[in-house]
């Protein structure tokens, strides 16, 4: 078989695509994954990072809710190093209807979600940041999850199972012979090379851009892009997920994610052309702050780090203009039975929490098409990094007396952290001080995780995600990239892009300490380094 022939090609390096590639690769298929930019650039990396217990959907969408709790429990085991088992609260504020709590708890229990009504006093002790005025609280098994880490771990495991990953590779055409899809035509955005790849099955996991990919193949998939904006606060104020116990609405979830916490979201329909460049508006910022403060008043005095927006890849069903009432359910389309186009399937809808199930469903269909009978193992096989216990244990096993940086690295890399253990003390030098990312970790991401730009490194290691937003780490990490690629010119442009992108997130909330910090960064780069 030739080098450009595979059993299955997956388009889209989001969590759905990465998960599907891993599942296919684990079932012995020769896989190729392509993405026009990097992994986790779309909706995967632009959400709360909430591993739903399903409670949020229990009342309106019991099917999704049941799906969530099953997947939630599976991922705690197989993706342990990406997940913070924080638990969540659904709180009732004086302005909310306390009767809804009964409906909510019943719906949760019907969906198989453990939901305990707890005394508001206990809730305040469990989560001291919660609004002290709450009149009701329910405890549910919500978690937080790092979507970048999860996506990278899936990609890495696919590679360990022989999968090929081509990033910065844009699909410019779907190759069809009669009514059968034969492969894809691609354009490499780094090298400028155009190349065709062939496979009997192509999986469209392009999220909201899946509509365009389907169009290239001559089939119609109507997406319903719903924009959601979120705010990142500079440190964790809460250690449990805080939700409002009411009908899902704007800005009613506060999630602790790694070193930060995130409040969101808004929801508004946008034209598909705007999906690639969504911006957060001042009105949205105001709404997020006002509503967020109701969840945790401490947010009012906490520094805001960034504002960002993502686009939910919902599939059009009716004319609901907000997108709130659309099912978050999984949509798997076999275009052979649906449109008479063989060799193409689309997997979309769903959510981060159910990505593994989506991948399983898509892979089952791929295998049926290829006549392969092999069971899915992703529900029981841990991802690389999640094989061993807690990061405290992992770090202790490797280092006798681990430093903060080593412990933090273990919390990010899980058991894979043993790879950065080095006799060379230079590998311990910190590149990113806010997030404590060492030189060893950056180099491991360049070597193993397909990181070729600063932005790629950020997604894989959290470099530049801390309070200073790349003030010092950007040029340090760029140095390592330049060394790895043997090219300085490219890195200069990379720093420029990276800092612009950081500023884009600072801009909507550009006041106070965030603005001071940004000005200082500009001073460092423009006036000291002359970039």
């Amino acid at each position: 078989m030739k080098q450009n022939e595979f059993d299955v090609i997956i388009i889209g390096g989001g969590i759905t695509g990465a998960g599907t590639q891993r599942d296919c690769a684990m079932r012995g298929l020769r896989t190729l994954l392509v993405d026009r930019s990097d992994i986790a650039t779309g909706a995967t990396g632009r959400n709360h990072g909430l591993l739903h217990s399903g409670a949020r959907y229990a009342v309106n969408d019991p099917e999704s809710a049941a799906e969530c709790i099953r997947e939630n429990m599976i991922l705690r085991r197989v993706a342990a190093h990406c997940i913070d088992e924080s638990d969540g609260l659904f709180v009732t504020l004086p302005e909310d209807d306390l009767d809804y709590q009964k409906t909510f708890v019943q719906a949760c229990r019907d969906a198989g979600i453990r939901a305990d009504i707890i005394d508001p006093d206990l809730a305040r002790r469990l989560e001291p940041s919660v609004n002290p005025d709450i009149i009701g609280a329910v405890r549910v098994p919500d978690c937080s999850v790092d979507p970048f880490r999860l996506c990278a771990a899936n990609m890495l495991d696919a590679k360990l199972h022989g999968g090929q990953v081509r990033l910065q590779t844009e699909v410019t055409g779907i190759l069809r012979e009669g009514d059968t899809v034969k492969g894809i035509r691609t354009h490499n955005r780094n090298t400028g090379e155009d190349r065709d790849f062939y496979a009997p099955v192509v999986v469209n996991a392009g999220g909201v851009w899946g509509q365009e990919l389907a169009r290239m193949a001559g089939v119609k998939v109507g997406m319903f892009p719903a924009k959601g904006s979120l705010l990142i606060f500079a440190h964790r104020v809460n250690n449990m997920v805080i939700n409002r116990c009411r009908k899902p609405s704007n800005a009613d979830i506060l999630v602790p994610g790694d070193t930060v916490c995130i409040v969101g979201t808004t929801s508004s329909r946008i034209p598909i052309e705007e999906c690639r460049n969504v911006a957060v508006t001042p009105d949205e910022v105001t709404l997020l702050i006002t509503e967020g403060m109701k969840l945790a008043p401490r947010l009012a005095s906490t520094r805001i780090l960034r504002a960002y927006a993502g686009v939910r890849p919902l599939v059009s069903a009716d004319d609901d203009s907000s997108g709130r009432n659309i099912s978050r359910g999984i949509v798997l389309l076999d275009h052979e039975t649906r449109d008479g186009v063989k060799g193409l399937i689309t997997i979309t809808g769903g959510k981060l929490t159910s990505y593994r199930l989506m991948a399983e469903m898509a892979t089952d269909l791929v295998c049926r098409k290829l006549g392969i009978d092999k069971a899915c193992e992703t529900a029981t096989t841990p991802l690389p990094g999640s094989e061993e216990g807690s990061y405290e244990e992992v770090a202790k096993k490797i280092w006798e007396n681990p430093t903060t940086a080593q412990k933090v690295a273990a919390s990010r890399m899980g058991s894979r952290v043993s790879r950065i253990r080095s006799a060379d003390r230079r590998d311990e030098a910190l590149i990113c001080e806010c997030e404590q990312v060492s030189m060893g970790e950056i180099n491991a991401a360049i070597d193993r995780l397909e990181a070729s730009t600063l932005t790629d490194l950020r997604r894989r290691t959290r470099v530049g995600m801390g309070t200073c937003q790349g003030e010092f780490c950007a040029c340090r990490a760029a140095g390592l990239l330049a060394k790895a690629h043997g090219c300085i010119e490219k890195e200069r442009a990379d720093i420029d892009y990276f800092l612009q992108e950081r500023w884009k997130g600072n801009f909507p909330i550009g006041w106070g300490d965030t603005l001071r910090e940004a000005e200082y960064t500009q001073w460092v780069y423009k006036h000291v380094l002359g970039i």
Binding site: H235, V408, T467
Partner: protein
């Protein structure tokens, strides 16, 4: 299930990561095991809020000199962040040695009646080796001598005489003056009496607790703090200013009680002053001191780190410069490296001496008759490391007066 600390007391988010603190940190330059004030302070606080487990025991290498706070353009309480993290997150029980070193008050009470014996023993090379081996107190260190007659006793005998002065102040003498070096207290009394000011003791003062804090004996530190705040409040109610001759005691009571121990001291914060500031301001307002005409001394002034943090080094400097016959030299503002009990610990000895070396070198070059300094531990360190005599500016002032 319950996370003990979910909120920071400090303004760590105001840090813009400019790294000035790290550039000025004396430990950072000599000890690679220390992550530096920025990483240990504001950066670390953010991580510790995420998970207390991210606490790093290398924070113990912080001297507590507070230079980071002096230089921080955003006024972040960097050193307090580090010290409080040690108090909050380091749950290993303090060592016996640390308890001994921290209990300045108790050890003073214990040693004073047997002062000549204790002094002779701690000076013995064999005893020092024994302490080095068993307690890990570095053998190079000289222990401050204990005095047979405590300052409290001395002043107690003169209570009636002091009450006759028209103006009154209270004196927070601290452990050092009381147990080790009453002469400094006597010098202060002499100067103040010359100015027409009588000196009272507080009803009962306790050690300010800095050594307890830096050795993580938080409970005892809190006890002392509450006691001292109450005592100082009583003095404040009587309208008395409280003077001190130790910059570290002063900083601890004024700043660290609320910052590190969460003990409200608003009522007394303004009434506790360094004696040099009080005297300088009095002279500024027109008070006169009878100076000797034959006094001559070449004095090099070292600003203790905590004096610099208070921002009051200038008062001691100005006061020394007012003395006729003083040839005044200001030494560069660097840390001497001792940091109280820090330098006594065997594991810190090398760091301590390396931090202080630039200062020692400068003193050797300047070659003064005496080094002036408001801090007793700086005094021990400089005397041990350079052989030059170190005196409190108050003592030099007392020597320059012509009384009788």
């Amino acid at each position: 299930m319950f996370q003990e600390f979910t909120e920071s007391w400090y303004n760590f988010e105001e840090c813009t990561k400019c790294t000035v603190c790290t550039a000025y940190c004396p430990v950072m330059q000599v000890n690679p095991l220390y992550p530096g004030p920025k990483v240990a302070g504001p950066d670390g606080e953010r991580l510790r809020l995420r998970d207390p487990h991210f606490f790093d025991e290398s924070l113990k290498y912080c001297l507590g000199c507070k230079r980071c706070e002096v230089y921080c353009p955003s006024e972040v309480k960097v050193a307090s962040l580090i010290q409080s993290a040690r108090l909050k997150y380091d749950h290993t029980p303090p060592k016996l040695r640390d308890r001994i070193l921290a209990s300045t008050d108790f050890m003073g009470k214990l040693a004073r009646p047997a002062a000549p014996v204790v002094n002779a023993v701690t000076a013995l090379p064999l005893a020092r080796t024994a302490m080095d081996v068993t307690l890990k107190i570095d053998r190079h260190r000289t222990f401050p001598e204990y005095s047979f007659l405590s300052f409290e006793r001395w002043l107690g005998h003169r209570r009636k005489e002091q009450a006759t002065f028209p103006e009154q102040v209270a004196y927070y003498h601290g452990c050092y003056v009381n147990y080790n070096y009453p002469q400094l207290g006597k010098d202060l009394v002499k100067v103040l009496n010359t100015l027409g000011v009588g000196v009272q003791l507080l009803e009962k003062e306790k050690c300010c607790g800095i050594a307890l804090i830096s050795n993580r004996l938080k409970k005892q530190a809190e006890e002392n703090a509450r006691h001292n705040v109450e005592q100082l409040s009583k003095a404040a109610e009587k309208g008395l200013k409280v003077l001190a001759t130790s910059s570290t005691c002063t900083l601890t009571i004024r700043e660290e009680y609320p910052n590190l121990l969460g003990i409200d001291n608003a009522a007394i914060q303004d009434s506790l002053l360094m004696a040099t500031r009080y005297i300088y301001e009095k002279l500024e307002q027109g008070a006169k001191l009878p100076f000797r005409t034959d006094f001559h001394k070449r004095v090099a002034y070292h600003t203790p780190c905590h004096m610099q943090r208070l921002g009051w080094g200038v008062f001691s400097q100005k006061l020394l410069q007012l003395i006729p016959g003083v040839e005044f030299i200001a030494l560069d503002q660097t840390c001497c490296g001792i940091a109280g009990t820090y330098g006594f610990k065997k594991e810190n000895y090398a760091t301590s001496q390396a931090v202080g070396e630039p200062l020692f070198e400068q003193i050797r070059i300047v070659n003064p008759e005496v080094v002036a300094c408001d801090c007793e531990t700086c005094k021990w360190q400089i005397e041990m490391s350079t052989g030059y005599k170190v005196e409190n500016p108050i003592s030099i002032l007392a020597q320059s007066l012509s009384t009788e």
